[in-house]
């Protein structure tokens, strides 16, 4: 595929943070409790593409915490820096939890087997043998991702509606230039890591046919609904097949 989607990190409009604001926020950072955030212990780098458009691909830095052995919740940033933009959220679940979901819901979730086994999903800074102990578990999980900020089209602000995102499922999908950019930056080789991960296996029951959009693209659409008077239930999402 042609090289496209060069990494963008658009400038957010606005004034630089004032010194007084910085000082105030240093105080709040020191005094307040950050319980939920302190649970975030892991940085994973991978790629997502839009659920309706594989040609738009985004490097995604996940910062993850475990709710329990089978469930992780991640904040997704466009780069792992102090000024990284918070562009999305991902949830990871074990195969067991995934199988409890209704089929309609399974469509939102993508498999991780290929991303892990191909070496493309990795933990920056962590030596191979340690990474692999965790990633062999990740290979069996499913993930659900929404992005709220389309940095790949140069948006300097989070405009529009949430986007369902999907992940790599086979060779040839990921743009060469995006892959090489990451390999160079982190001084790694996906091909080499793929060899090291050959022993890993995916979900015990195989990749579920309803996962990964159920094989279809998924596109979000905004709908206006009347403000609910008592007794009317708008809460059922319409998923058009």
């Amino acid at each position: 595929m042609e090289a496209v989607n060069v990494l963008t990190h658009p400038q957010i409009p606005g004034e630089p943070t004032q010194t007084s604001t910085t000082l105030l926020e240093k105080a709040t950072a020191t005094i307040q409790g950050f319980g939920p955030v302190n649970k975030i212990h892991q940085h994973l780098c991978a790629f997502h593409f839009y659920g309706h458009d594989m040609t738009r691909q985004v490097e995604a830095h996940h910062f993850c915490g475990h709710q329990n052995e089978e469930f992780r919740q991640c904040l997704i940033y466009d780069r792992p820096d102090d000024d990284g933009r918070l562009i999305g959220i991902e949830y990871l679940v074990s195969e067991e939890l995934f199988l409890t979901l209704p089929d309609e819901e399974k469509r939102f979730w993508h498999s991780h087997e290929f991303e892990v086994k191909s070496g493309v999903l990795f933990m920056p800074g962590v030596p191979g043998p340690i990474q692999r102990q965790d990633l062999e578990k990740v290979a069996k999980t499913y993930g659900k991702v929404f992005h709220f900020w389309q940095v790949d089209r140069g948006d300097s602000l989070p405009l529009g509606i949430p986007q369902v995102m999907m992940a790599l499922t086979r060779d040839g999908q990921l743009y060469e230039n995006l892959a090489q950019d990451v390999e160079n930056r982190y001084n790694i080789s996906f091909a080499k890591e793929r060899e090291n991960r050959a022993y890993m296996t995916g979900p015990a029951h195989g990749i579920h046919p309803m996962a990964n959009g159920g094989g279809k693209g998924l596109q979000t659409v905004l709908r206006e609904v009347e403000c609910k008077p008592a007794g009317v239930d708008h809460s059922a999402a319409r998923v058009f097949v």
Binding site: M1, I12, G14, P16, T17, T21, A27, T28, A29, I31, Q32, G33, F34, G35, P36, V37, N38, I40, Q42, H43, M54, T55, H61, H66, Q67, N68, E70, F71, D82, D83, L86, I89, V93, L97, T100, E105, G125, V126, Q133, D134, F146, F148, L157, V164, I207, A211, N212, G213, L218, Q219, T220, V221, L222, R223, E226, C227, D233, S235, A237, F240
Partner: protein, 239 residues
């Protein structure tokens, strides 16, 4: 603390407790990785939000905010402030200057913050009011866009469905927060929203709140995200 994660005896989310091995892997990763964006979160905000498509459903929210410049904050939103808290969404906060630059169709998705601050609903737990006053004056003039990805208030054990758009408390019928929710929150932090409201009388009201924000007030509509199956644009097979 485990009680906070349960509803009706069922854990949210379900799943086996973390193994010792996983704890060690986590610790190892934490020592080796720098986690910079996470360390930039420097504010905890507790407030309330309402589902735009059903404003009878109201939740207490915990925002962990990062300021990217004087006009912009990005927040990870949780349903409580303890370590078992579920990540339920993301909110972006922009100054009025940035908000005015947005197209009207975009503005419809945003809500104003002046009321929740003046009314004492929005607080920074543990920080003395006087210390945080300048920040509140800043926030009172901002607008927010809040997508909720996990509806734990209705008992969803796992995050289900597409994200939903949230709205902010407003001093108008549908936008008023259930007093029971407020009492529960106030008791937890040993504060009084009523007292804060009085203390905040001096905080200037914005001269003008853009009528595209809080869209439901003028138009009686909320928003929903539908998901349509479509042909994926691709050059290589999927999946």
């Amino acid at each position: 603390m485990a009680a906070a994660a349960e509803q009706g005896g069922e854990k949210i989310p379900p799943g086996k407790p973390m193994s010792v091995e996983q704890h060690m892997l986590d610790k190892g990763a934490q020592m080796l990785q720098s986690l910079k964006p996470i360390k930039q979160m420097n504010q905890h905000i507790c407030t309330f939000a309402l589902y735009s498509h059903d404003m009878t459903r109201q939740i207490e929210t915990h925002h962990f905010a990062t300021r990217l410049n004087q006009d912009f904050l990005q927040c990870a939103v949780y349903d409580s402030d303890d370590s078992t808290a579920r990540l339920i969404g993301v909110e972006y906060i922009v100054s009025d200057k940035i908000f005015e630059s947005l197209p009207p169709d975009e503005q419809k998705l945003w809500h104003s913050h002046a009321y929740e601050i003046k009314s004492g609903l929005l607080v920074n737990p543990r920080v003395p009011e006087m210390v945080v006053r300048p920040e509140l004056e800043n926030l009172a003039k901002t607008y927010g866009k809040f997508w909720c990805t996990w509806q734990t208030d209705r008992g969803d054990k796992l995050p289900m469905g597409p994200p939903v758009l949230m709205m902010s408390p407003q001093p108008v019928n549908l936008g008023m927060v259930n007093p029971d929710l407020i009492v529960k929150r106030d008791d937890k932090y040993n504060i009084s929203s009523e007292a804060l409201k009085n203390a905040r009388i001096e905080i200037p009201e914005p001269e003008w709140i853009n009528p595209q924000a809080d869209y439901w007030k003028q138009h009686g509509v909320g928003f929903f995200i539908d998901v349509e199956a479509t042909e994926m644009k691709k050059t290589v097979p999927f999946p």
